[in-house]
């Protein structure tokens, strides 16, 4: 159990050391950050292997920390993205100490969310994520960063504030604070209130259509590492919260809200794809593709069968690595060209081949090509969705086609086509960026070929949750 507490403490310690270290010795922050994230990665692997991954939530000493099949994959994703973020922001010159400090604080907070075994601890960690993200977007962002940072903070804070009230109402109606295996459901009269209040916070985070408009602004303005953590892992807190807290607390209300949530999910898929089609800025395009992918998660959560929930976890992890790769590449490109206007880009496969190939790989993964991470989760969601909602899945099929359209259109306009003279002498990816791309490409292929890496861990836990809900 202590290793789980360490998983939160290590990044925090790293954050302090990085921040202080930078003061004493220029450039030491990034090495400290790299060391911390690698140690965190190793610890996570150790924790995953020793913890009874398949067992119910083994709660920590004072009920603060638990690791099981549901939170395991997401904690591992966080550790991986932590390393990638450090590599991606290796050359930040503006206050690296604070930058890496905040990044590690963010990682610690997110890990704490996934490991929290107590509702209030989960809420505290959930809010603790906001502050570093606000600073990352606000200080190191691009031109419109102040507005984007403010919008991100207030929008998410509004959602999570209502979530707090939901938690309080739940606690009043007999829910036990521990998220472990204890008897769970709230009195059925209070379930609608609890469910909708909790959903307010979760829906903003996932994001569920139409509560998504903060995402593109935050992504366009955030620095590379900020985008990677935001898209890669912060969105998953919503999905995780739904499965870990909202479903067990208010099962009947969740079933009743199923059709509405499914509709919002399907709209999210199609709407996100259509919006991505209309974008002229590469990062905004990737942000909308995230909205579309998370639409699958919402649909899966709405269906609510054990298979669908497993699919939701799978899509979350897959989208985590895929969008992280795309944002890593968009950030790397921005560092070189200082613009992400798709109209001004072109022929990059010829100019910077390594980047071009990685971008193509990312887009193929994003459009859900089988053999890559996106496909298994989306297929299982599609199948479960069809079984639950029948011919509504035609809209999802349209969404899948549109995903192909906007991804290939992006590749066509950015990577293919004749070389643009303006970008003649661009430097291709350096070894750090290639390592980061490799670190992401590996899981993308692994999950695509053998998805039960995640599903075999998540499926039993989810089945137990659903069984206990008596659904």
């Amino acid at each position: 159990m202590t290793i789980l507490l360490v998983l939160v403490a290590v990044p925090l310690a790293g954050a302090v050391v990085a921040w202080v270290g930078e003061r004493m010795h220029e450039g030491s922050a990034r090495w400290v950050a790299l060391a911390t994230t690698t140690v965190q990665g190793a610890l996570t692997v150790m924790a995953m292997s020793t913890a009874t991954v398949a067992g119910p939530a083994g709660s920590g000493g004072n009920g603060l920390v638990a690791l099981d099949g549901l939170s395991g994959p997401l904690v591992s994703l966080t550790a991986l993205l932590g390393i990638v973020c450090v590599l991606a922001s290796w050359s930040t010159r503006r206050g690296p100490g604070a930058y890496f400090g905040l990044l590690l604080w963010l990682q610690a907070a997110v890990t704490a969310v996934f490991l929290a075994a107590n509702i209030l601890a989960l809420y505290v960690a959930w809010e603790a994520v906001l502050i570093p993200m606000w600073f990352l977007i606000g200080v190191w962002g691009h031109e419109g960063r102040r507005h984007a940072a403010m919008k991100f903070f207030v929008y998410t804070f509004a959602g999570s504030a209502l979530m707090l009230v939901g938690i309080l109402v739940a606690l009043r109606n007999g829910a036990s604070a521990s998220l472990g295996a204890s008897a769970f459901a709230v009195a059925s009269t209070a379930q609608p209130a609890v469910f909708w209040l909790l959903l307010a916070g979760l829906a903003v985070k996932i994001p569920v259509w139409p509560l998504h408009t903060w995402l593109p602004d935050a992504h366009v303005e955030a620095p590379t590492a900020g985008s990677i953590m935001l898209a890669g892992i912060l969105l998953k807190m919503g999905g995780y919260g739904f499965i870990r807290v909202a479903l067990p607390l208010a099962p009947e209300a969740a079933t009743a809200a199923g059709p509405l949530l499914a509709t919002l999910g399907v709209i999210g898929i199609v709407y996100g794809a259509v919006m991505a089609l209309a974008q002229t800025d590469l990062k905004r395009l990737i942000a909308y593709s995230s909205v579309s992918h998370m639409g699958f998660v919402v649909l899966a959560l709405a269906v609510g069968t054990p298979a669908a929930l497993t699919a939701a976890v799978l899509v979350m992890v897959a989208h985590g690595v895929t969008s992280a790769l795309l944002f890593l590449l968009a950030g790397a490109l921005y560092d070189r060209t200082r613009t992400l206007e798709v109209a001004r880009l072109g022929g990059l496969q010829r100019t910077i081949p390594a980047w071009g190939t990685a971008f193509l790989f990312g887009c193929l993964a994003s459009l859900g090509l089988p053999g890559l991470a996106g496909f298994p989760g989306e297929l299982l969601t599609f199948l479960e969705g069809f079984e639950a909602y029948g011919w509504w899945m035609v809209a999802v099929a349209v969404g899948v086609v549109l995903a192909g359209v906007y991804n290939l259109r992006a590749v066509r306009r950015v990577a293919h086509g004749p070389e643009v003279p303006a970008w003649k002498g661009l430097a291709d990816l350096d070894w750090r960026e290639r390592l980061a791309v490799g670190l992401l490409a590996l899981p993308i292929v692994a999950l695509g070929v053998w998805p039960s890496l995640v599903t075999s861990a998540a499926s039993p836990v989810v089945a137990a949750l659903v069984a206990r809900m008596g659904r």
Binding site: N62, G63, L64, N118, L120, A121, Y123, V124, E127, A128, L130, I131, W134, F135, G138, V139, R145, R146, A149, M150, F153, V154, F157, A158, A161, L162, L164, V165, L168, V169, L171, R172, A177, A193
Partner: protein
């Protein structure tokens, strides 16, 4: 034994008198020193006399100590000002008096003493505001006096009715029993309680009796504002909590069913008005003043949901942060005398004075109610009490208020960190204000983190009962 109860008030008053004496002999430094010593002594006594086992009896002494220490911090924060300008020692002495009156208000259980305490606090506040020295300060004081007078009138009527109804004794307990059976018709008693509620609302700056607050806090000297924005507010809210949720502190019986709706209206009004008006403010102190109105609203939610300890905790933790915030204004002023007190011209503070900026950030985020900081602990206690007693809509209003509050607290952070350029700070004249700000910031962080280690957050529900 009664002496030990009154000791803190007397010690604070003694400190003030010594300060005046020293000032008469022109010894400014020792005058300020005496005031600070008085405050610290006033804080030490209740702590020393704490009963061994932690119980509800701990609450009032701990709050007394907190109030005294906050006063000491504000006096230390104003050290440069009180040792250099001629009216300095006078404001230090008045600070001691405010503390002394506030302590009286907190511990008394007698209507008349409550009246005397409130008036003494008011008069000392008039003095402190006037010492701001500027034309606006004088104007603000005059307005404060006029409004204060009207409030005093209403207070006297209220107290007199209750005093006579309770057979001339005026003790809270007697008043409560008299409320049930008294020579007066029910409506007279209702009038008295209503007036009492309104005056207490006036004293702690709740809506719609808040008019004096923005002017006074903006134009009095920052250390004075730090004191006035925290200590009197805490005292009045503690008194309100005791009065309206009866002396037993834990008993859930409300003396009079009807004032609950009135206090709920005051609370809701304060939250809405305070948050909205603060959004528009350009001057930092005026913004803090309006946000104070909202924060009182949150505390009153605790009173409404019959959780006196939660209400006291909420207002005290806010008081701590508010004092720190006003002292930070003084600290920034120390660094750059030409600063016009506006938020937007705080630009670049994050890079120029990182420690101070970090302290300001902690204080702002605490007042917003972000977890791991003191404000969240207070708000969580109050809102969970509200939800438990069925006042869920008040909790939602409070929570939404906190979200809106990031609109203006966040703008301070935005100015400090997100904008590059800004006024080039000169050499810092004296570190006293910055030290005081840092002290409060650290206290806020520690208070925020405490529940994590003290048996997990679930323990918070202890406060909610």
């Amino acid at each position: 034994m009664t002496w030990t109860i009154i000791a803190p008030t007397l010690l604070a008053a003694a400190g003030a008198v010594c300060a005046l004496a020293f000032d008469a002999f022109g010894m400014r430094r020792s005058a300020s020193g005496a005031a600070v010593a008085g405050a610290v002594a006033a804080g030490a006594v209740p702590l020393a006399l704490l009963p061994s086992s932690v119980s509800v009896a701990w609450v009032i002494p701990v709050l007394e100590a907190a109030v005294a220490l906050i006063t000491a911090v504000t006096l230390v924060g104003g050290w440069r000002r009180s040792t250099t300008s001629s009216s300095g020692p006078m404001s230090a002495a008045l600070g001691g008096l405010v503390l002394s009156a506030s302590l009286l208000v907190m511990i008394t259980h007698d209507m008349v003493l409550l009246l005397v305490g409130l008036e003494a606090m008011g008069l000392a506040a008039y003095g402190l505001t006037a010492l701001g020295g500027t034309a606006e300060a004088r104007e603000a004081t005059m307005k404060y006096v006029i409004q204060g007078a009207v409030a005093t009138g209403l207070l006297i009527i209220g107290v007199s009715v209750l005093f006579v109804a309770s057979g001339g004794s005026g003790g809270y307990a007697q008043v409560v029993t008299a409320t049930g059976a008294s020579p007066f018709p029910r409506s007279a008693i209702a009038l008295a309680w209503a007036l009492l509620a309104c005056v207490l609302a006036f004293k702690c700056g709740a809506f719609p009796f808040h008019w004096w607050a923005p002017d006074v806090y903006e134009h009095s000297s920052p250390p004075a504002a730090a004191l006035l924005a925290s200590v009197p507010k805490i005292a009045v809210v503690v008194a309100t909590a005791q009065l309206f949720v009866q002396r037993g502190l834990s008993s859930t019986m409300l003396t009079f069913a009807t004032p609950v709706a009135l206090i709920a209206a005051l609370a809701a009004g304060s939250i809405v008005f305070g948050n909205l008006a603060a959004l528009r403010q350009r001057s930092m102190r005026r913004m803090l003043a309006y946000s104070g109105i909202a924060q009182v609203g949150y505390a009153l939610v605790g009173v409404v949901s019959r959780a006196p300890v939660a209400a006291m905790l909420c207002i005290t933790l806010y008081g701590l942060a508010a004092a720190g915030a006003f002292l930070s204004v003084e600290a920034v002023g120390d660094g750059d005398p030409s600063w016009d007190g506006r938020i937007d011209t705080l630009a670049g503070l994050g890079s120029r004075r990182p420690r101070l900026a970090a302290a300001i950030a902690a204080l702002m985020l605490s007042m917003t109610g972000i977890p791991l900081l003191a404000g969240f602990v207070g708000k969580l206690a109050v809102f969970s009490a509200a939800v438990d007693t069925g006042w869920t809509w008040l909790a939602v209003l409070g929570v939404v208020g906190s979200v809106v509050s990031f609109g203006y607290y966040g703008r301070v952070l935005g100015a400090a960190y997100l904008t590059g350029d800004g006024i080039a700070g000169s050499k810092v004249r004296s570190g006293a204000a910055e030290a005081a700000t840092l002290l409060t910031a650290i206290a806020v962080v520690i208070a925020g983190m405490a529940p994590l280690f003290v048996g997990g957050l679930a323990a918070l529900s202890l406060f909610a009962r």
